[in-house]
């Protein structure tokens, strides 16, 4: 047994030394398009014709940031291009990102709102938008017969959603509404971008208002008709496909498989509305070049490639994230794109639409900001604590975060001088 091991050790040592020398591919270091099928599609369909060799490596936000910080600190890097969510970039020091205003975007007409977000409060283009998504509702067609009388699926209110869920629970004998409250679920986005704007027309200012108490009461009611397994659900497409859940709220990319695998069984529709409108928020992913990128010219060429209209369409097919540049979508898009695209259009075009913006200016407090909403959810809904007491308590944490970061209010909150106040 000894000799083969010796040989293997020699071989592996040699191999590890040899393989570590070469490589000039641009490393695309991303927190997005992580599922294996999506990363495969990114490599085969989006990056294959980039005009240069690209090594696409998706990873969890933890290792993503650690690696990046290590390279920045060491002053020497291998990462050529960063792909991440708006929130990931806001928590970084903007000085570590290269100015992208010199990138030749050609004919691509990039969304102005998103480009402005990419300045990260500086005068330079720190990141460029890469792709966008949002959160919508999805339902199994089986659920439609239980819709309450007079309810229009494209203009539901939260009250109607609650009675719908109640009807389904009674008909099926078990709760059939699903909510991504699992460890990797995006529940905090529902509270920040949907529930609060719909009930308080605010996220920060009226965090602990009487209207917010009503909102949480409504959500608690909805929760009583929600599949209790929801605290374990992170990608609602799975539970929709397995039939554990008939109606669900989630990120468009996390519903896509349900639409693609059984396009005839599922429909998409807008998020419900509350007293202050139909709150919803976008998800924006961006691309940036770290200051330590080994070949900035190649990286900038790759940025330009990612924003070409045809690349944006290929990206949509690969990831179910929508383009951030003006494009004419071809007719043969996957079912998920057609189905969710229509629902998004209905949602943003609805008379009571109340679009919010992503939290901005929070810097490294972004994670704590999310935690305030997650904690409130766990205490109010799971631990059944008194809503008023919990909100008054969490309000202090939120206030401290806003003051520490100095972030001004963003829509739907009214603009503020200085840090957004929690009233």
């Amino acid at each position: 047994m000894k000799n083969p091991i010796k040989t293997l050790l020699m071989v592996s040592l040699t191999a590890s030394i040899v393989t570590s020398v070469t490589q000039a591919d641009t490393l695309f270091w991303s927190t997005q398009a992580k599922p294996v099928e999506e990363s495969q599609a990114m490599r085969d369909q989006v990056l294959a014709n980039a005009g240069q060799a690209v090594d696409y490596q998706p990873s969890d936000p933890g290792p993503w940031l650690t690696r990046l910080n290590a390279e920045l600190e060491a002053g020497k890097g291998t990462i050529g291009l960063l792909g991440a969510l708006h929130g990931d970039f806001t928590s970084m020091n903007p000085d570590n990102l290269v100015d992208l205003s010199s990138v030749d975007l050609g004919s691509a007409d990039v969304n102005k709102t998103f480009t402005d977000l990419g300045m990260l409060g500086t005068s330079e283009q720190k990141y460029l938008p890469w792709m966008q998504a949002t959160y919508i509702m999805a339902a199994n067609k089986k659920a439609l017969e239980h819709l309450p009388d007079g309810a229009d699926i494209n203009a539901l209110s939260y009250d109607q959603l609650i009675s719908w869920s109640k009807n389904m629970a009674e008909a099926a004998g078990e709760p059939k509404f699903g909510f991504p409250a699992g460890p990797k679920g995006l529940k905090h986005r529902f509270f920040q971008g949907y529930l609060y704007p719909s009930y308080t027309n605010s996220v920060v200012r009226k965090f602990a208002s009487d209207e917010a108490v009503v909102a949480w009461e409504k959500f608690r009611e909805l929760w009583s008709y929600t599949n209790p397994g929801s605290t374990n659900f992170s990608f609602m497409q799975e539970q929709l496909l397995s039939g554990d859940v008939w109606v669900a709220f989630d990120h468009t990319a996390r519903l896509a498989n349900a639409f693609n695998q059984q396009p005839d069984d599922f429909i998409a529709f807008p998020a419900p509305a509350g007293p202050t409108g139909r709150g919803f928020m976008p998800v924006i992913a961006g691309i940036a070049i770290p200051a330590t990128a080994p070949d900035q010219v190649a990286a900038k060429e790759l940025v330009a490639h990612m924003l070409k209209p045809e690349t944006q369409i290929a990206t949509l097919r690969a990831t179910n994230f929508f383009p951030v540049v003006d494009v004419e979508l071809p007719a043969d898009m996957p079912a998920a794109v057609r189905i969710s695209g229509a629902a998004i259009a209905t949602m943003s075009g609805s008379a009571d639409a109340n679009p919010g913006l992503l939290p901005a200016g929070l810097g490294d407090q972004g994670g704590k900001f999310n935690q305030v909403f997650v904690d409130s959810f766990e205490r109010i809904v799971l631990a059944k604590q008194d809503i008023r007491a919990v909100l008054d308590d969490q309000k202090k944490a939120l206030q401290a975060i806003m003051e520490k970061s100095g972030a001004p209010c963003w829509a739907p909150d009214a603009p503020s001088e200085g840090a957004c106040p929690v009233e």
Partner: protein
Amino acid sequence: MTLILCVWVLLPIYLLIVNSLSTPEEVIAFPKRFFPSFNVASLEFFAGFSGIVKALQSSIIVATITMVLSILIGAPAGYALSRFEFRGKTTFRVLILMTRAFPLPLLALPLAIMFIRTGLDDTMFGLALVHTMLALPFSVLITFSLFSGIPIELEEAAWTLGCNRVQAFTKVVFPLILPGITASAVFAFVISWNEVFAASVLTIENRTLTAFLLQSLDVSPMHLKFAGGFVLVMPALIFIFAVRKYLFSMWGIANR
């Protein structure tokens, strides 16, 4: 009892295999089928997944280096702990355990900076060093108890018959503890095989299979989770199967 233990270990592996050989529809269906439909589409996906063969190679190489290093360093330390009295012995034993007291996400940043500066970054050898550090406490403590289980009189007898210290070790003690060494080698191998965080921070081109797949799998659809799990588990199972006779002999089952 044996039956329960067998089911305990084999049932998950069996379900993993059944589900990796099923179509996506069958995977989410309930009740589960007990016999697979031998649909290999999910597994084929991984066969064609770019970079997977290279990642598998890296995993095997890193795990092998880890295994060898942790035995080469761990066994002498275990021997010293069991045979010699020296000052600070207890402290030393606690210190060995302390290496496991710091979570990797905490260590990874300074390690990565140091690796980038020294050129160890993105090498399999560098990653194997980190994994060796993780595996060492186990190999030291396992070999320590192994050596302690072998009476010093056996060695003394060898000395009186003309062996020197080294010969007594290689001719008498080593054959006796070989199964135990194998066990601790298997441990080191598995620790390296399963480690994700350091691997995904410290390697890019030379990613191990676990780092390459695991972060993507937890957000992938169910049928690919099963197939990916299968791809991750099989090589490790094959390895353990290959060294089983050394393990069996440790538990007193006849050598086969």
